[in-house]
């Protein structure tokens, strides 16, 4: 059930090349490249590209850090199982709670407050002047919003 690749099973870190400073700098460089890609991807604006670049690469970066920096993959099985189990529990929690919190209607119930909020905000967006709309570049240049922040209701 270990959620990480089967690293070499030597708990003691003898000095093979995987521990030399040069190796770490190489991994760091790869991480920076991935960061660049994950920043560039969303600018294209295509939804699935953003998904792949931003979140997919985050998982790859996470794996690189876990394997090369934290050496979890070469750690004893019991530590890997503990970390993996806790991560699985969070997935369990997410998918078990999703039908109630993520969705706003189900068998014999309807989360009206959430649906009203969505309709209210979408309506307020159509009327708000199109000029300063969300897709203006996010940093710095956005001048103060004409209306109060999007959904401050009270």
């Amino acid at each position: 059930m270990s959620s990480h690749a089967e690293g070499s099973h030597d708990a003691s870190h003898h000095h093979d090349d995987s521990h030399s400073p040069a190796h770490y700098v190489k991994i760091w460089a790869v991480l920076l490249v991935l960061l660049g890609v994950s920043l560039a991807g969303p600018e294209i604006g295509i939804r699935w590209v953003t998904l792949i670049t931003a979140f997919g690469i985050a998982v790859v970066k996470a794996f690189l850090v876990i394997k090369h920096f934290m050496h979890l993959t070469v750690e004893r099985k019991v530590a890997q199982y503990a970390i993996g189990a806790c991560f699985m529990l969070m997935l369990l929690f997410f998918f078990a709670v999703a039908p109630d919190v993520m969705k706003h209607w189900g068998v014999n119930w309807h989360n009206e407050a959430a649906s009203n909020m969505k309709r209210e905000i979408e309506r307020s967006e159509h009327h708000a002047p199109a000029a300063d709309q969300a897709h203006a570049p996010a940093d710095g240049a956005g001048h103060p919003e004409a209306s109060a922040p999007a959904a401050a209701t009270h």
Binding site: V107, N108, W109, H110, N111, E112, A113, A114
Partner: protein, 231 residues
């Protein structure tokens, strides 16, 4: 088992009680059986001078385990499946499958009172002739009702023990359910989810009337609570 303690006032009360009987029967026999064996072992193997305790090597332990642990284990698993089947079928009948209903009632809970919006003579909710009463609900025996439950502030729970009906009211949500009263009379509505200091003092009155009396009530829906004469 519940019918010993509480009247059965709605159509699905019977199926909930039969489920409770099923669980009582299965679980009761196991309880009596295990406690019996437990106390018998205590008596049989109490310390007697000159008698040493036994030592089970792996072979003997395995033999005992096979008979006294694995078989009960399988039996419990099988009985659990029966209980699960019973529980889910009752749950779907009461909470998931809503039959075609004759009338709708809108129930709103708030800190420390219930508001019931009856459909009125035109039998349609949301029209001018709706009858809105505080802490008082009038229904007709034998009619299927759809209720829409909502809360204005905190969590409450619409609970009618006689009907075996209980559903939490969540602020921001409208939760629907159904009931069909089968027993005329005056019953209690209780709040079953803590809702602040008035949680204990927000009962409501439930009048389940025969058709002609219900029709009479529809004519002049004066709140019954105001008048002192109980039905």
């Amino acid at each position: 088992m519940l019918d010993l303690f509480m009247l059965q006032g709605s159509s699905f009360a019977g199926s909930i009680d039969s489920l409770v009987w099923l669980v009582t029967f299965i679980v009761g026999t196991w309880f009596v059986l295990v406690e019996g064996i437990f106390f018998w072992l205590l008596f049989r193997y109490r310390k007697q001078d000159g008698v040493k305790a036994e030592y089970f090597d792996d072979g003997r332990e395995h033999a005992i385990k096979h008979v006294w642990i694995e078989w009960p284990h399988r039996a419990i698993l099988a009985l659990d499946v029966i209980i699960i089947y019973g529980a889910i079928s009752v749950w779907m009948e009461v909470k998931m499958y809503v039959p075609v209903t004759d009338e709708t009632i809108r129930i709103t809970a708030q800190q420390w009172a219930w508001t019931f919006q009856h459909a009125g003579k035109d039998n349609k909710i949301g029209t001018a002739d709706d009858i809105i009463l505080i802490d008082e609900m009038h229904v007709e025996v034998g009619k299927k009702y759809l209720f829409e439950l909502a809360s204005k502030d905190v969590l409450h729970s619409f609970s009618v023990p006689v009907w075996r009906l209980k559903q939490d009211a969540i602020p921001g949500r409208v939760i629907t359910g159904w009931f069909e009263p089968t027993l005329a009379g005056e019953y209690d509505v209780q709040c079953a989810e803590i809702c602040g200091i008035g949680h204990g003092i927000m009962p409501a009155k439930l009048y389940v009337e025969y058709p002609e009396k219900h029709a009479a009530w529809l004519e002049n829906p004066a709140p019954m609570l105001a008048s002192s004469n109980p039905q």
